[in-house]
Every structure is written in C-alpha cells, then in structure tokens.
Symmetry: C2
Subunit: 298 residues, 2 copies
C-alpha cells in the first residue's frame, strides 16, 4: 500500500517544502545570519510526517489544499524549532540532524536559541495571517489555541522537560507513555486535528475518530523512533544513532525491550486503523501514513 500511495506522500512533501520556502524570511529581511539559519533549520530535510498528516486529514474531510498549507507549515515550523532547541548543548547536545550539522554547530549557540524562538513566532504568525472564504476566523482562533497548547507546557515543552528530568532514571511504562504523549504525541495529534479543522463542515464524530487515530500513531511514531535509535545506523538516520543510550534516556526499548516495543508500536497502529473505521470518508491515505510511521527505517 505504501508504494501505491507514494505519489501523494511525495506531493505533500514537495508542497510543504515549497510553501515553507515562500514563507521563511529571505536574507535581506533582517540580520542575514539569522535569516539564513532559520532557513537552514527548516528547509531541505525531514520526513515531513506532520505536514503529511495535516494534508491527509484535511483531504479526508474534503478541505481545500490551499487552506491546508498554513497549518502544514505551522506544525513543521514548531517541529523544526523544537529540534534546534533539543539539539543545544544544554539539552541533548547533538551535532548531526537530517544528515547535516545541527544549527548551533553550523552557526553558533546563540543563533540556535534565536532561530528556535523566531520559528515558533513564525508558526503563529502564519496561522493568524491566513485568510480564506472557507474558514471562519473563530475556527482559526481555535486552531491557534490548539497548536499553542500542543506546543507548550501542557504538550511538547512539558514532555521535553519530563524527558530531561528522566535522564539516568528508570521510568514505568505509564510514566514513559505520558512523557511521550507530550514530547512527540501532542504535535502529531495537533497536526491531524489542524488538518481536520482547516475548513468548515467536518463533523464532530469524524474529528473524534481522527483524534483517537492521531493519539495512537503519535505514540507508535515515538516507539519506532526509540527502536531506530538503538538499531539503525547514523547514515540511515541522518542523526547520531545510539544517542539515547549515551544520554541514558528513558526509552521504550530501555523500559520494555526491543521486541515488546515493536509489538506495542504494531498494537498502536492497529488501534489507529480501527479508529479510522469510524470516519465517514475515504481514509486510505491516513491508513498508509500509519503504515509508514511503523514501517519506516529512519
């Protein structure tokens, strides 16, 4: 199914790359090194899973592609900012990301901090600045609130803080799951919901089913991330493999072993697919993304 559907994936990926390219500041719109570094950290890389989820969820409920671009860009900007900050020396101290030096290595640490800060602002500016006859301003406010909540202390930032605090400590599976529902899950879930909300007419039952789908694949995504960090090589990953173990991170393999982790990811995938049965629309692409998330090699 992945092969048959590779065309929409590629379309989504090139579509968000191009939208981000137009959105990001050009070198002469501010301090040159900052503008360059913002582009360096956000373009030419990444799997764009979050943007794909925006587009796929939005298309599932029949929204216009042009109305999906702002949310697709916004989630990728938030994701890119979080990677730049997570890679900083005071956080995970990583030197390689998406196959190239991390932002603070390619530029400097102060620039890394500011790039992340600027990308976060740009995400909200993008969502607030979109104007469309298909989208009521009330809905846009709801989307901004949802993204801010998913990105902040109750979501991604909170999960990252739990992750830092858990270094060298043994967590229970419940604690680890809670950590990752924030750290990675919140933004993945937001991506699906933002896609579904980027227009009018989607019904509450569909949104609820998509919410459940998103929670499950968010968790599956992180479990596979942890497994790949253990099993894949640096070249395939595009980031340093084994980094979790080096930092004594709390991971699924460290908590329940590799095999149980893989089984848990497949279980999440099955739950995600089953949630889609409740959506009254063609969910083929969302199903394929669930397969991609669990079957990926990097």
């Amino acid at each position: 199914m992945i092969n048959k559907l590779s065309a929409p994936f590629c379309d989504y990926k090139s579509r968000v790359e191009s939208a981000l390219d137009k959105l990001l500041p050009v070198a002469n719109s501010g301090p040159v090194h900052l503008m360059e570094a913002m582009r360096y950290a956000s373009l030419d890389g990444g799997k764009r899973i979050r943007a794909m989820l925006v587009y796929a969820a939005g298309q599932t409920v029949d929204h216009d592609m042009n109305d999906l671009d702002p949310a697709a860009c916004a989630v990728e900007l938030i994701h890119a900012y979080s990677l730049v900050h997570d890679d900083l020396p005071a956080m995970d101290n990583d030197t390689l990301r998406r196959g190239k030096p991390t932002c603070h290595i390619a530029y400097d640490e102060a620039t890394g901090i500011l790039v992340g800060d600027g990308l976060q602002s740009l995400a909200f500016e993008t969502l607030a600045g979109h104007s469309s006859v298909n989208l009521r301003p009330e809905k846009q406010l709801q989307m901004i609130k949802l993204l801010a909540n998913a990105a902040g202390h109750a979501g991604m930032v909170g999960g990252q803080a739990r992750d830092m605090a858990a270094q060298g400590r043994k967590l229970t599976l419940d604690q680890l799951t809670e950590l990752h529902l924030g750290k990675t899950g919140a933004l993945i879930k937001a991506s699906v919901l933002l896609g579904a909300l980027s227009g009018e007419g989607s019904n509450p039952a569909d949104i609820e089913a998509l919410d459940e789908y998103a929670t499950r694949i968010g968790l599956a995504f992180q479990i596979i991330d942890d497994v790949l960090d253990e099993e894949a090589d640096t070249k395939t990953l595009g980031k340093n493999s084994g980094a979790d173990r080096t930092l004594s991170k709390a991971t699924f393999p460290a908590t329940i072993g590799i095999e149980k982790s893989r089984r848990m990811a497949r279980h999440c995938q099955a739950q995600a697919l089953s949630a889609l049965d409740n959506v009254r629309a063609d969910t083929q692409i969302l199903k394929a993304i669930a397969d991609l998330v669990v079957g990926r090699k990097h």
Copy 2:
C-alpha cells in the same frame, strides 16, 4: 504628574500580576520543576511597563479592562521569555534579574530554554483563547499576527540577533537605532497597539498617532536602559550593572556618549507627547508613562 498618577500605574501592575498568576500553570499541571520555573520567571518582578501600555492605550480608546487582560499578559509573557533566553550563558550570560538569580541559575540551563519556549506558546494561547462580545475574532487574529510579527525575526528576535552580532563592533547611530527598534521597540510598540486593538470602534487616525507615540517611547526606553546600565548600581537595577560594557555591547552611551543619549531620550519623549496631541481622547496616562519611561531610575 507621575505622583498624581501613581494610582493607575499601581492598579495596572497589580492587575497584570494577578491575571498572570491565574494564567500560569500550577505545579500539578505538568512537570513540577517546569511549572515552578515558568512562574519564577514571570511573577513577582519587573516594572510591567508593557502591560501598563496595553491598559493605558486600551483605556484611552475606551475598551473594557477585562478585554485588556489577555494582551497585557501576552506581552509580559513574551517579555519574560525573552529575558530568560537573553540571560542564558550562550547569550548575555547574566546571573541576576529583577533582584533574584536568573532562571537558568535558579534551575538549570535546559529548564531555562524550555521555560522561554513554554512562555512564548502561552502568550499566543492566551490571545487566541480570549472570548468577548466586545471583540470580533477577525480583530483577535489581527492582534495575534501583530504580536507574532513583533516578537519574531522581523522584530524582537531579529533585534536580539543584531545585538549579539554587534558585540565588540562599533555601530553607527542609525544601525544602533535599527537594532533597538527591533530588540526592545517592537514589543513596546505592539503593547500600545494591542491595547488599542482590544475592542471595537477605535478609529484609524488614533491608532496611527498611538503607533508613532509607541515607536518614540520604545526608543526612549532603550536609550535610558543603556544609560542606567552605565550609571545605576546593581541593587537599584535588580540586574548586574555595567553588563553592557563587560560584553562590549553596542549601546547609545558607547556610540554617542551619556549626555547626548539623555538628550536623545528627551527628544523621543517630546515626539511621543506631540504624537498624542493627535489622539481624540484623554491621553493623560499615556503621557505620564512617557515621563516614567524617561525619568525612571531602574
């Protein structure tokens, strides 16, 4: 005039403190150390000039105080996040802020990064989450876009990047002014405009005059900041005095001398007051804030 008007200033200050206190996460809503640190970095301190400007501008054009709280909190949250990140070792490496240890000293560097990130998200969540019969959603979107733009690469973050790049270099007065129109000016200007936009019915000519007022006092504020860093003592400032000189920062005193700097601040103040003559409302409190900005001792 300042003494006669000290009551509204105090009211504004305690009002925003109380609104922030209600808004900020409590310890059991996420990782305890992150929630504590977010409160530590945002409460019990600061002059709250930005919140004052929101309230004063909003009251000038007759908006409801309850509709001004979200913008007052949002600008203070953005300001607090920027201070936490600016104080980090890779940036200004400051140990003292608002009379207490900086966030990364009181907690740790990773927490400092995450606190700033979370406070920024919370600012946008706050603006997007407000609901009032006095405020159309279109206006709220305009406010979010304005704040995101002022906070990001085209405003505060861009100014901060210019500031970092200027360390040890001699700037012209024009370059220095451009730097500070971003670094400090953009958020101060946004504060005035957000106050004016937090309701319906304000007329474009008034907004334009308030915009000019805001630009001028934003610049005056930064000039006085630079002067105080040279002249005041650490205890009065609540942060380490002489820090600019230690870091070879590009400042107004370093560029044009202390006396010319003071004269330039007074000139900006006069321009700000003159702009207010074009506002068709009682601008007494905004005038008093201009006096406060230039006359302050810390």
